[in-house]
């Protein structure tokens, strides 16, 4: 299941719903990403996205992960718009019979969301909109693991 939304979400409620939806799974992994305040410098992140492509790209990544690791379930929630420091940005959950598959699939999805899903982050400080966050070479490099 994929949710693209501007509203906040509760990671715990999302995890419980996911677990309930996949009762046979032995292993469930979740990743939740939150806005870091960078030592108080950041007030919020503003996240711009390309709606049609975001849905297509993430669904393709979910389908790939499901097939490659034999997942019984996969869920992605990704927000856009203005997210205050501490707020949740993204959540990935994977369900599989064993832990290695669930962990790897969640990492695969996060690595692809970072560099292959059309979202762009901009810093919002007390002075207003700041610079766009630059892509990190380590994030691009992380994709090599999955080739």
């Amino acid at each position: 299941m994929l949710r693209l939304q501007s509203e906040p979400f509760a990671p715990g409620a999302a995890l419980d719903a996911f677990v309930t939806a996949h009762p046979g799974a032995g292993a469930v992994v979740s990743f939740t990403g939150h806005v870091r305040d960078e030592g108080g410098r950041l007030v919020a992140l503003e996240i711009e996205h390309y709606p049609g492509m975001a849905r297509r790209a993430i669904e393709a990544q979910m389908t790939a992960a499901r097939a490659r690791w034999g997942l019984s379930g996969v869920q992605v929630i990704h927000r856009f718009g203005t997210i205050p420091a501490g707020g949740p940005i993204v959540m990935v959950a994977t369900a599989a019979p064993h832990r290695a598959a669930a962990f790897e699939a969640a990492e695969f999805l996060m690595d692809h969301l970072k560099s292959r899903a059309p979202f762009w982050k901009r810093e919002i400080t007390a002075d207003g909109p700041g610079p766009w966050v630059e892509a990190r070479a380590t994030d691009e490099g992380a994709l090599d693991r999955w080739r």
Binding site: M53, L113, K114, F119, W132, E134
Partner: protein, 83 residues
């Protein structure tokens, strides 16, 4: 006629997020060459095309040599920072 979309700082430099373009450009590189002439903002946005990413009909293109035949929506943007 194709729909050209811009995101993040490309959108800001160009001053709009979308424009309709009448073009016969055979590939992405040729389209960029045309777009650069439209305004100083366009020229600035496309000053370093190698640093950009391009999606054709919402699929990431491999290179600026990707052909435009049949494509209806072209999007230009900086490297993505999702997750």
């Amino acid at each position: 006629m194709i729909e050209v979309l811009y995101f993040a700082w490309l959108r800001e430099r160009i001053g709009t997020g979308a424009e309709q373009i009448e073009t016969t450009a055979p590939d992405v590189a040729a389209l960029i060459a045309e777009l650069k002439t439209r305004s100083p903002g366009h020229a600035l946005a496309f000053a370093d095309p190698g640093a950009l990413r391009v999606a054709l009909d919402q699929e990431l293109a491999d290179s600026l040599a990707a052909p435009l035949a049949g494509v209806r929506e072209v999007a230009f943007f900086p490297p993505m920072t999702g997750g």
